[in-house]
C-alpha cells in the first residue's frame, strides 16, 4: 500500500491587505510523511504554525508552494492544487478532521451530526445512527443530549460530539487538532483508546496535543514544527 500522506516542501504565508499588505510568513519547507498505522504529533511552541499545517493538509488553508500528496482510492492526489470538488471527494472518503470547535448547524441533533459523515458515504441512516450512538455512549455523552442540537452544550460536550463525528468513519488519514483540550481525565482516556484502535486498523494520524500525558500515550514520533520556521529557512 502506498504511503497515505507525503508532504513535500510546503510553504505558507499570509498577506494582510487590510494592514498595508504586511506579509507574514508562517512555515516554509515543510516536508514529512506519515505511514499507515502511525501517529505523528506536531510539536513546538504556540504560534509556530502547527494548526496552519493541519489546515493546509485539510485543504482549509491555501498553500503557496510545495505538494501535499495523498493516497486517495489508489490514486495520488495533490491536495495543494486540487479542484474544490476533488478536495471534497477526498474529505468524504479519505481524509478526516477533528477540529477544536464544533461548527453547529441549527436544528440538527447531536446524533445526526455524528452520523452524517457515514451517511455521506452511503450508509443507511439507521445503521449510521446506531454507530453514532455507540460512539457517543463510549464517550460518555448523556443519552438525553443525543436528540438535541449541540448549540447549547458545554465545551466538553461539544468536543465529544466533534470527536465522535471525526472517528465514526474509516478514513485512511485523520487530522486531530487538540481533540482532548476540553476533556476530563476519563474522556481523555477514551480518546487515547480510540486513537490506538485507529492505529491498529492502519489509519495514518497527524495531531496536535498540548496535554503531555495524551501525547506520550499516542505519539509514535514528534515532529518539531519550529524546524519549519521561515526565519530559520531564510538564515
Amino acid at each position: 500500500m502506498a504511503t497515505p500522506l507525503v508532504v513535500s516542501e510546503v510553504a505558507k504565508s499570509f498577506t494582510m491587505h487590510l494592514r498595508d499588505g504586511i506579509r507574514r510568513p508562517v512555515v516554509a519547507n515543510v516536508s514529512f510523511s506519515v505511514k499507515a498505522g502511525e501517529c505523528v504529533v506536531l510539536g513546538g511552541p504556540s504560534g509556530v504554525g502547527k494548526s496552519s499545517i493541519l489546515k493546509m493538509l485539510y485543504g482549509n488553508y491555501g498553500v503557496d508552494e510545495g505538494q501535499i500528496l495523498m493516497d486517495h482510492d489508489g490514486k495520488l492526489v495533490n491536495l495543494a492544487t486540487a479542484e474544490p470538488r476533488t478536495v471534497l471527494e477526498v474529505r468524504r472518503t479519505t481524509l478526516g478532521y477533528v477540529s477544536q470547535f464544533l461548527r453547529v448547524v441549527p436544528r440538527v441533533s447531536a446524533l445526526d451530526i455524528v452520523a452524517e459523515p457515514l451517511q455521506a458515504r452511503g450508509v443507511a441512516i439507521e445503521d449510521a445512527r446506531a454507530r453514532a450512538a455507540e460512539l457517543l455512549s463510549k464517550l460518555n455523552l448523556p443519552k438525553e443530549l443525543w436528540s438535541l442540537p449541540p448549540a447549547t452544550f458545554s465545551g466538553g460536550e461539544q468536543q465529544r460530539v466533534n470527536i465522535a463525528r471525526g472517528f465514526i468513519t474509516d478514513h485512511r488519514i485523520l487530522l486531530l487538532d487538540e481533540p482532548t483540550a476540553s476533556l476530563d481525565a476519563k474522556n481523555r482516556a477514551v480518546v487515547v483508546e480510540l486513537i490506538a484502535e485507529k492505529k491498529a486498523k492502519g489509519t495514518a494520524l497527524i495531531g496536535i496535543f498540548h496535554d503531555e500525558e495524551v501525547r506520550d500515550a499516542v505519539a509514535d514520533r514528534i515532529l518539531d514544527v519550529s524546524a519549519f520556521s521561515p526565519r530559520k529557512a531564510a538564515a
Binding site: H17, G62, P106
Partner: protein, 258 residues
C-alpha cells in the same frame, strides 16, 4: 462523482450600454454541487445569475447545459418554447421575493401542482397528493393546501416557492437571496430545509447571497464578485478561512460576531 459538468460557463459578459454588468466569467458546475456567488450590492451577482438562467441574454460568452439526453445545448441558441420548458421542468428559480415566483391568487396546492401539469401530469388525485407531500416536506401544514399564499407569512411563502420549484425534480436550481428579508429564526429554518433537500435530492444549485454565513452553511464552492468580475473562487471554507484578495479579506473581516 459525476465526470461531466451539468453547466459550462465560458467567458460570459453582460454590458448595459457602456456600463458593466458582469465580465469574463467562466466556471463549470457539476451535479450535486452548490455554488455560492457573494459580493456587495451592485457587484454583478444577480446579473450573472440572470445570464446563466436565460432571464437575460449575455452580451458575449457561452452558457451550455447538459440535457437529460446527454447532449450539451447552447442556451442562447435554444428556442423560446424549449427554454421555457427547461425552466419549468429541469430547472428551478427561487426569487428573493416569493411574490415574484408564486401566483399569489391561486391556492398553495395549485401553486405546486401547476408545475406538474406543465410536465404533462393530468390526474387530479395524483397532483393533489404530490402537492400535499411537498407542503409537508417544506413544513407547511396540509390543512393550508387550499389557502392562497397571500394569507401566508413571508417564511411560509418562501418555503412554498421552494416546494413549487422542487416538485418536478429539477437538476439545477437558481436562488437569488433566498433568505433575504426573512428574520433570523425563519432564516435558520429555511436554511436547514434547503440544506437537507439539496443533499437528499442531489441537486446542483447556484445561490446568490450577500450573507457569508448562508454561503458557509449551504455551499461547497464560492465565487466572490466585485465590479462585475470574479476576483476569487474556491472551496467555500478555504475562501472564508484563508481569503487571499484584499476585497475578500475586507468582506470576511466585516462579519459581525454574535
Amino acid at each position: 462523482m459525476s465526470t461531466v459538468p451539468l453547466l459550462k460557463v465560458n467567458d460570459v459578459s453582460k454590458f448595459y450600454g457602456s456600463r458593466i454588468g458582469c465580465r469574463n466569467v467562466s466556471f463549470e458546475l457539476y451535479a450535486g454541487e452548490v455554488l455560492a456567488i457573494v459580493g456587495e450590492s451592485g457587484s454583478g451577482k444577480t446579473t450573472l445569475l440572470s445570464c446563466l438562467s436565460t432571464r437575460l441574454m449575455p452580451t458575449s460568452g457561452i452558457v451550455e447545459y447538459h440535457m437529460r439526453d446527454g447532449q450539451y445545448r447552447d442556451l442562447a441558441r435554444m428556442g423560446e418554447a424549449e427554454r421555457r420548458f427547461l425552466m419549468r421542468t429541469d430547472w428551478g428559480f427561487v426569487h428573493q421575493n416569493p411574490a415574484d415566483g408564486l401566483r399569489m391568487t391561486v391556492s398553495a396546492g395549485a401553486n405546486v401542482g401547476e408545475r406538474l401539469m406543465a410536465v404533462g401530469d393530468r390526474h387530479y388525485g395524483n397532483i393533489r397528493a404530490a402537492a400535499s407531500d411537498w407542503l409537508e416536506r417544506v413544513e407547511i401544514g396540509v390543512d393550508r393546501i387550499d389557502d392562497q399564499p397571500r394569507a401566508f407569512s413571508g417564511g411560509m411563502r418562501q418555503r412554498l416557492q421552494i416546494a413549487r420549484n422542487l416538485v418536478t425534480s429539477p437538476r439545477l436550481v437558481f436562488m437569488d437571496e433566498p433568505t433575504g428579508g426573512l428574520d433570523v429564526s425563519v432564516q435558520a429554518r429555511l436554511l436547514d430545509l434547503v440544506r437537507g433537500l439539496v443533499h437528499d435530492l442531489g441537486l446542483a444549485a447556484i445561490i446568490v447571497t450577500h450573507d457569508l454565513a448562508v454561503a458557509r452553511l449551504l455551499s461547497h464552492r464560492m465565487m466572490v464578485m466585485k465590479d462585475g468580475a470574479v476576483i476569487e473562487q474556491g472551496l467555500t471554507d478555504r475562501v472564508l478561512d484563508d481569503p487571499r484578495e484584499p476585497y475578500t479579506q475586507l468582506l470576511v473581516s466585516s462579519i459581525l460576531q454574535v
